[in-house]
Assembly symmetry: C2
Homo-oligomer: 298 residues x 2
């Protein structure tokens, strides 16, 4: 685990060094939007999604330099979702990754535009910066848009999460929380893994194995997030904790209780690791990543 | 002119009939975001950008049915920009196309998500619904993202428009207003024309002719908008007028005066029409469209 943490933090440092090359700052006053985009993107984070994509692509011999534009595109899209999610009309958060949220540091209009800019840029990078066949780029654009979209992707998950659901029986609540998780965070984690397979020209069985893996760790990740919201330290997490509890939100813990939720996460991680068998020892990093997801303290 | 108006309104009716096929409504509560996207997209508008793209592609023998996904994608993107532009933190508008704005009809969080959803969907449609070679799709994704983006596209224009610029001399003000116009509205109008050329496999000269045309009508369009903000009827325009004057915004009219602005728009329209000569009589509709831009009463 200690070794895996080093691998992840080495990748994260390398990734952060690549950011400036993607952010030429305009000369005019419009640069404020680009600066806000950069502020939120460069403000930390584990780079888990880019790392996932990089590990998945590596299974097929693709170098991390080749993956980088697709990884940067995904992190741009993820960061846009954080900026808009933090807005006063949404979750109304003041802190993100230990720093003022984008609308707190700049202002609300700039934060809306910075989010819009990052979302748009995610697709520009895929189309213009990625060195891959046009068919690969087109497939990635389609997969990313679907994963992030309003029909069955991230925007749909956000919408569902904002919609009050009172008086649900246990079964309905269980179905709902799984749908929210799947769409809100699961889709992008799935995309990270599937994009690695697409970049690597994976066959159907290997692509499916990575998708199965991503679904298992995606749910485990959300459960771990709910646990950290209760057990984590605000200093280490860099954000306000306990809000879900206070707002009596539908979480895995509110639904199942802390112990059962932890057991569920553990089971999912084991299943995720089993789905990697087709890759043999080549998938060791992805296997450690699965363990890391429920053992991370931040 | 009367004939052109019929051609445009026939296209617009046809376009509106195609919208439902692009908006399957999800079954769960997340459908609220899709309904809000549909509310704003279906809420009227002249469909000028889709029509421009359709006319440009027609010069190369491409049918409007083939262009439709790219045209729908562009209108989704345009509509997202209106939804976010109307938000309280931005222009804070209550009326759009004669109906309550998205955040007034739904709520602010839903409007933010609906805008995000439409922007994302614009790229999904290009990638998944357009029947074209992967190289064409990739080029369109790149051009659209650049035109809509934060570096030199629409988001940059919005940012610049929100940034107060006091004590400018006339030359600086002139440069600034032209940059705002070019980025805020010009880029998407240019994309509409250029995408038609890309879909049609245009040679460099014809593509450039369409780009020149688009730049001329783009500026004329913005001047006409400024004129309508003063001379238009709120009932016909379906939005609050005179706000730019009240807010003492930098507009072509505040800068040059009404008469000089009108002359400038007329000159641009003539230049736009001249740039179409390479197409001969085939470009008659685009030529009428140029005239329409400064003569429209709504």
């Amino acid at each position: 685990m200690a070794e895996f943490k080093t691998v992840l933090s080495d990748y994260s440092s390398w990734f952060n060094q690549q950011i400036p090359a993607f952010f030429p700052v305009p000369e005019g006053m419009e640069k404020r939007a680009v600066e806000a985009m950069h502020y939120s993107l460069a403000g930390g984070g584990k780079r888990l999604r880019p790392f996932l994509m990089t590990c998945a692509a590596k299974l097929f011999g693709i170098e991390q330099e080749t993956v980088l534009p697709a990884a940067m595109s995904l992190e741009c899209l993820h960061t846009y979702s954080l900026i808009h999610d933090d807005l006063p009309a949404m979750d109304n958060d003041d802190l993100r990754r230990g720093r003022p949220t984008c609308h707190k540091y700049y202002d609300e209009a700039t934060a809306i535009l910075a989010g819009d800019g990052l979302l748009t840029y995610a697709f520009e990078i895929l189309s213009c910066r990625l060195n891959a066949a046009a068919t690969v780029k087109t497939e990635l654009v389609g997969l990313l848009a679907e994963a992030a979209g309003a029909f069955k992707g991230m925007v749909a998950g956000q919408m569902l999460d904002l919609t009050p659901a009172d008086n649900l029986n246990t079964l309905a609540a269980e179905q709902l929380i799984n749908r929210i998780e799947e769409m809100k965070t699961g889709c992008l984690i799935r995309y990270a893994c599937e994009a690695g397979a697409v970049l690597g020209g994976a066959d159907a069985a290997r692509r499916q194995a990575l998708i199965t893996y991503s679904r298992k760790i995606g749910t485990a990740f959300q459960i771990a997030d709910d646990i950290l919201d209760i057990e984590g330290s605000p200093e280490l997490m860099g954000k306000t904790l306990g809000k879900d509890q206070q707002q009596n939100k539908l979480t895995f813990i509110n639904l199942y209780g802390l112990d059962a939720a932890k057991q569920m996460a553990g089971r999912l991680i084991n299943e995720a690791k089993q789905s990697l068998q087709i890759f043999g020892t080549a998938a060791e990093t992805l296997s450690s990543l699965a363990d890391f997801i429920i053992r991370r303290s931040v």
